[in-house]
Amino acid sequence: MNAKDWKILLVDDEREFITTLAERLELRGIPARVAFDGESALEAIAAEEPHVVILDVLMPGIKGLEVLERVKRTNPLVQVLLLTGHGSTRDGIEGMRLGAYDYMMKPLNIDTLIEKMESAIDYAKKAATLAGKTDGQ
């Protein structure tokens, strides 16, 4: 799958951070939607079923790990990359236990992020094949 066909959702209440990250991904030909809280992230995931969700752990309202749990119940093939800080690596590890594909610490290295997204999409494709489900692409 070409990067232009990836469906990426970025979720963080740090608006400047996440919109700038989306812009940088788009400059590299990767379309990315943004959500600024857990509630709107869940709505976007239900409506668009993105391939990968980049999800901040610490947000007001519904926390990142709760969003992750709900996503894994309703859309298990959606891969989630968690964003943590140095003080919240425990959340990253807990997130992996709950089904997150991986976690990354802020500030991000965009090349590493893209590598992880590609790897998560490959994993999702294999998982979909195993589950007897195709995404039609």
Binding site: E14, F17, R24, G87
Partner: protein, 208 residues
């Protein structure tokens, strides 16, 4: 203890915010870098711009290291059932003490030590004791020298070693009294390093 835990919670929250600030600065400067790479031809100040962006990236890296160490300090008063990781505590202390040492023109070097060694103490107690030894060493060492610290295992105990100056010179410093008091209160053994150089702090083993 309550005070330290309270200040730790406040500091942890602030370091999280600082990480968000640094992340935003990194993405914004990264975006400028991306745009510059796409359209630098004809831009008279492209080189100056690139230099500025490189400085920004370096300062973000510097800030990241500091916030990581501060975040460690924020959690250092917390009691962990597994005990404190000695190497992590010493690494955070050394990182945060570099500036103080540099004022005396002394370079701190943390040897790549044994990882995973633990003690029954809290991380803040390890930092307090090693910090007291560091205070004494920084007073006794001549300017322009290097001070090596290492974390090792000796006889089943986690030890922190400062390799200079001489043990007797350390004992003669005004800071020795504080080191003696802290180590006695925490049950830390204090002895001279090999050949009478430096000081070795033997930390209590973690609870089984």
């Amino acid at each position: 203890m309550r005070d330290a835990l309270f200040m730790g919670r406040v500091t942890a929250s602030a370091t999280h915010e600082l990480q968000n600030i640094l992340a935003t600065i990194r993405e914004s400067s990264g975006l400028m870098d991306d745009l510059l790479a796409m359209s630098s031809e004809g831009f008279a100040h492209a080189e100056r711009f690139k230099k500025g962006l490189t400085v920004l990236a370096e300062q973000v890296e510097r800030g990241m290291v500091l916030t990581e160490q501060l975040n460690f300090c924020a959690h250092a008063p917390e009691k962990s059932p597994a005990g404190a990781d000695i190497n992590e505590a010493v690494r955070a202390l050394v990182g945060l003490s570099r500036r103080d040492a540099a004022r005396r023109k002394i370079t701190l070097v943390l040897a790549p030590g044994r990882t995973g060694l633990r003690t029954s103490l809290r991380a803040v107690e390890v930092m307090d004791a090693v910090g007291a030894a560091l205070d004494a060493a920084l007073v006794a060492l001549p300017m322009g020298t290097q001070l090596m610290l290492s974390v090792e295992e000796q006889g089943g105990l986690g030890v922190v070693r400062l390799d200079s100056p001489g043990f007797e010179a350390l004992r003669a410093t005004p800071a020795w009294g504080n080191l003696a008091e802290v180590t006695a209160a925490l049950g830390i053994g204090v002895s001279a390093g090999p050949g009478g150089m430096g000081v070795v702090l033997a930390l209590p083993r973690p609870a089984a």
